[in-house]
C-alpha cells in the first residue's frame, strides 16, 4: 500500500507543476557528473532529509516544499538551461545592442512561459509572439532553442563554471532546509532584525527612483512583510545564498583539485559567484513581471511594481552578504594552505575587479530586461495581441526557427493543460500560415464592405470615384450598408456582382489601411469607416450629390 506521505508529495508536486507535467524523483542523484558528491556534502551540512525531483518540459522552476519530510527540492531542466544560457550573456562578449536585444527577447520568452503556468494565458501568448517576431530589434538569434543544451550541460568538462551552473539553484533551495534558518541571531549580529533594518533604510535612501512615500511604504514592508525587503525573508535568502556558495566552493575545490587532479581557479569561481545572483535576479524579475501583467486589479499590480522597484536593493543586499561570507570563507581556507597576509582584503579586491569587468554586460542585460518589463506593463502604444500574432503569421512562411519555438511553446502549453483563444489562433497560424487569422473576439471592429465579384471569384472592394479619389466605405451597421448598396448591386454588368463582405479591423492597425482578413491574397484597402468624421462628411456629400469630381 502506498504511504500517505509519498502520495501527498506526488499530489502536491502535481498541483504545483500542472496536471500533465513530467517529473521524477532522482533517487540515484546521477543527473550530472559529481552530483552525488555535491549532494552528500549538502546533506552533511543541513542535516535534514531531502529528495531531489526533476521536471521536464515545464517553465523554469526551482522550488522546495519544506512542509514534507524528506523535503522535495524541485528543479526543472528549463531552469538549468536558462541559467546556462543567461550565464553566456556575460561570457560571450557580444556587441552591446545585440546583448540588449537578445536579453529582451529572452526575458519576454521566460515571462511568457511563466504567465502560461501561473498567470494570464492570453498575455502569455502575446509575450511569446513578441519574443520571436523579427519585425523589431535585431532579429531572432537561435538563442533559446535548447535541443542539445541539456546534453551539453551533462557532458561539459568539469570546471568551476559547469559545477556552479549545474548546482547553484539546487544548493540554494537546499539552503532553505538548513538548521541555521531556525536560529535566533543575537543583538548586533548582521542578520539580526535591528541591524538589517538599519542597513535597509540606509540603502533605501540611496535609491533615486523612489519618492519619500514609497520609501516609507518599503520600510514598513521590511518591518512587517510580506515583501522582498522583509527582514525574515532577506535573512532566509541570505542564509540559502551563503549555504549554496559555501558548498559550491568546498565541492568545486575537492572535485577539481583532488578528484580530477587539476588546478582550482579561484578567479573563475569568484566570477561565478558574481554572475549567479544576477541570473537569479533575472529569472525572478521575469516571474514578477508575468505576475504583474496578469493582475486583475491595479492595486495588486501596483504592489508588484513597488516590489520590483525595491527588488534590486534586496538582491544587492543579499549579494553583499554572500560576497563577504565567501571572502571570509576563502580567506580561512587559504590560511591553511598559504601564508599570504591580508587575504580577506585581496579577495574583496578580486570581487571588485571581476564585477567591474562584467559591469557593461550587466548594464546591457538590465536594459534588455527593462525593455521587456516596459512592453509587458505599459499598454500604451504597444501592439494589439491579435495584430502581433498576424505579423508572426506572415513571418512564419520563411521562418523555421520561429516555427520551432512556437511548436515548443504550444507543447509546453499542452503539457500544462492550458487552453485559450489566442493560443488557438497561434496554433492555427502555425498549421497554415497562409490562412488569414480569424477575428479577435474582444478587440476587433467588424465592417461590412461591398466587394466586386467576377466570373472567376472576388476581384476587389467596390468603391466610388469621387473628387477625393477612389473611396471604399466600411459600415458598422448592416442596415445602412443595405440602403446604399442594394441598388448598386443590381446595376453591375452581367456575370459580375457586389457582395457584402465582412472585414475585421485590428484596433492597432494603421488608420485607414485595413488588412483584408478573409481574402486569399491579403490585399490592403483604405477604408472610410462608419463612425469617423470623414465618413459623415462624405455621406452628406453623397446625399447632396456633391462628392463627385465634376460637382466640385
Amino acid at each position: 500500500m502506498v504511504d500517505f506521505q509519498e502520495l501527498a508529495i506526488q499530489e502536491a508536486l502535481r498541483s504545483a507543476l500542472g496536471g500533465r507535467a513530467l517529473f521524477w524523483h532522482d533517487s540515484n542523484t546521477n543527473r550530472f557528473p559529481n552530483m552525488k558528491f555535491v549532494l552528500d556534502e549538502a546533506a552533511r551540512q543541513i542535516r535534514s532529509p531531502f529528495s531531489v525531483y526533476w521536471v521536464e518540459g515545464s517553465p523554469p522552476e526551482a522550488f522546495c516544499l519544506p512542509g514534507f519530510s524528506p523535503s522535495p527540492v524541485v528543479l526543472s531542466t528549463r531552469y538549468l538551461l536558462l541559467s546556462a544560457f543567461l550565464r553566456n550573456l556575460w561570457m560571450e562578449e557580444r556587441e552591446i545592442e545585440i546583448l540588449v536585444d537578445v536579453t529582451e527577447r529572452t526575458a519576454l520568452q521566460v515571462i511568457a512561459e511563466m504567465a502560461l503556468h501561473h498567470g494570464d494565458r492570453e498575455f502569455a501568448v502575446f509575450a511569446f509572439v513578441k519574443s520571436v517576431i523579427r519585425n523589431t530589434g535585431i532579429g531572432l538569434v537561435n538563442w533559446l532553442s535548447h535541443a542539445g543544451l541539456d546534453r551539453t550541460l551533462s557532458d561539459a568538462p568539469v570546471t568551476e563554471a559547469s559545477i556552479a551552473v549545474s548546482f547553484y539553484g539546487l544548493l540554494h533551495e537546499l539552503g532553505h532546509l538548513h538548521s541555521e534558518q531556525m536560529r535566533q541571531h543575537p543583538e548586533g549580529h548582521f542578520l539580526s532584525d535591528p541591524v538589517m533594518l538599519d542597513d535597509i533604510m540606509e540603502n533605501l535612501n540611496k535609491l533615486p527612483w523612489l519618492d519619500s512615500v514609497k520609501k516609507h511604504e518599503a520600510i514598513e514592508k521590511a518591518k512587517q512583510g510580506p515583501s522582498v525587503l522583509a527582514t525574515s525573508r532577506l535573512r532566509s535568502e541570505s542564509i540559502a545564498d551563503v549555504f549554496a556558495a559555501n558548498v559550491l566552493f568546498k565541492t568545486s575545490f575537492e572535485i577539481i583539485q583532488t578528484i580530477n587532479q587539476q588546478r582550482f581557479d579561484l578567479q573563475k569561481f569568484i566570477r561565478e559567484i558574481v554572475i549567479l545572483p544576477e541570473i537569479v535576479h533575472f529569472i525572478d524579475t521575469c516571474r514578477r513581471t508575468a505576475s504583474a501583467a496578469s493582475m486583475e486589479t491595479t492595486k495588486a499590480a501596483r504592489d508588484v511594481l513597488l516590489e520590483s522597484a525595491v527588488y534590486p536593493l534586496a538582491i544587492s543586499y543579499r549579494a553583499s552578504i554572500q560576497r563577504n561570507s565567501v571572502a571570509s570563507m576563502i580567506a580561512t581556507y587559504l590560511a591553511d594552505v598559504s601564508p599570504i597576509s591580508n587575504k580577506y582584503e585581496s579577495i574583496q579586491k578580486l570581487f571588485d575587479k571581476i564585477s567591474e569587468h562584467y559591469s557593461k554586460a550587466t548594464e546591457a542585460v538590465d536594459r534588455g530586461l527593462a525593455e521587456a518589463i516596459k512592453f509587458c506593463l505599459v499598454a500604451e502604444g504597444r501592439e494589439n495581441h491579435w495584430t502581433l500574432v498576424d505579423v508572426f503569421r506572415k513571418e512564419l512562411r520563411d521562418f523555421k526557427t520561429g516555427l520551432l519555438e512556437a511548436q515548443r511553446f504550444c507543447k509546453m502549453a499542452d503539457e500544462l493543460g492550458v487552453e485559450g483563444e489566442l493560443l488557438q489562433a497561434l496554433m492555427g497560424v502555425m498549421h497554415d500560415p497562409r490562412k488569414p487569422l480569424g477575428a479577435d473576439p474582444i478587440s476587433d471592429l467588424m465592417y461590412y464592405v461591398p466587394w466586386l465579384h467576377g466570373p472567376n471569384g472576388p476581384i476587389c472592394p467596390f468603391g466610388l470615384d469621387t473628387k477625393y479619389g477612389h473611396v471604399v466605405f466600411g459600415f458598422h451597421t448592416e442596415k445602412l450598408y443595405d440602403a446604399l448598396f442594394q441598388r448598386s448591386a443590381e446595376m453591375v454588368k452581367a456575370g459580375f456582382k457586389i457582395e457584402k463582405t465582412v472585414l475585421y479591423h485590428r484596433r492597432n492597425a494603421l488608420p485607414g489601411s485595413i488588412q483584408v482578413e478573409n481574402m486569399p491574397d491579403e490585399q490592403s484597402v483604405g477604408l472610410i469607416v462608419e463612425g469617423s468624421e470623414v465618413f459623415s462628411r462624405y455621406m452628406k456629400e453623397l446625399a447632396d450629390n456633391t462628392i463627385w469630381e465634376n460637382n466640385s
Binding site: 502536491a12 502535481r14 522550488f63
Partner: protein
C-alpha cells in the same frame, strides 16, 4: 474505523489553508500535510494542502472551503480526478453534487 479514501488537494493563501486543515484534521479518519511552495527568490508562491478523507467527510469540508472560495483565497482545488482552477462557489456546488452522486452510485 472508517478508512479515508479520497485525496483532496487545495492550493491558496496560508490563512485559508491553515483553517481548512483544522477542519480536515477534525474529521474522523482524516490526515493531512500542509506545505508552502518556496521559490528560489524566497517568495512563497502558494500554500498547498493535501489531505486524505473519507467520502462522507468531503461534502462537509467542501462547504467549509466555500467561504474561502468566496473570498478568492483558493486558487486550485482537486478532489479525486476532478480539478478546478480559480474555483467559484458554484463550481464547488457542482463538485459536491458530483461527489454525492458518485458516492450514491457506489452504494
Amino acid at each position: 474505523m472508517e478508512q479515508a479514501d479520497k485525496i483532496i488537494v487545495v492550493q491558496g493563501t496560508r490563512q485559508a489553508m491553515e483553517a481548512i486543515r483544522k477542519t480536515i484534521d477534525a474529521q474522523r479518519g482524516g490526515e493531512s500535510v500542509l506545505t508552502e511552495r518556496k521559490d528560489i527568490d524566497g517568495d512563497t508562491a502558494a500554500w498547498i494542502l493535501v489531505a486524505n478523507l473519507t467520502a462522507q467527510a468531503i461534502p462537509h469540508v467542501l462547504s467549509f472551503i466555500k467561504a474561502y472560495v468566496a473570498m478568492r483565497h483558493v486558487k486550485k482545488i482537486k478532489v479525486g480526478d476532478l480539478q478546478i482552477e480559480n474555483p467559484t462557489e458554484q463550481d464547488l456546488e457542482i463538485f459536491r453534487k458530483r461527489i454525492r452522486s458518485i458516492a450514491a452510485k457506489k452504494k
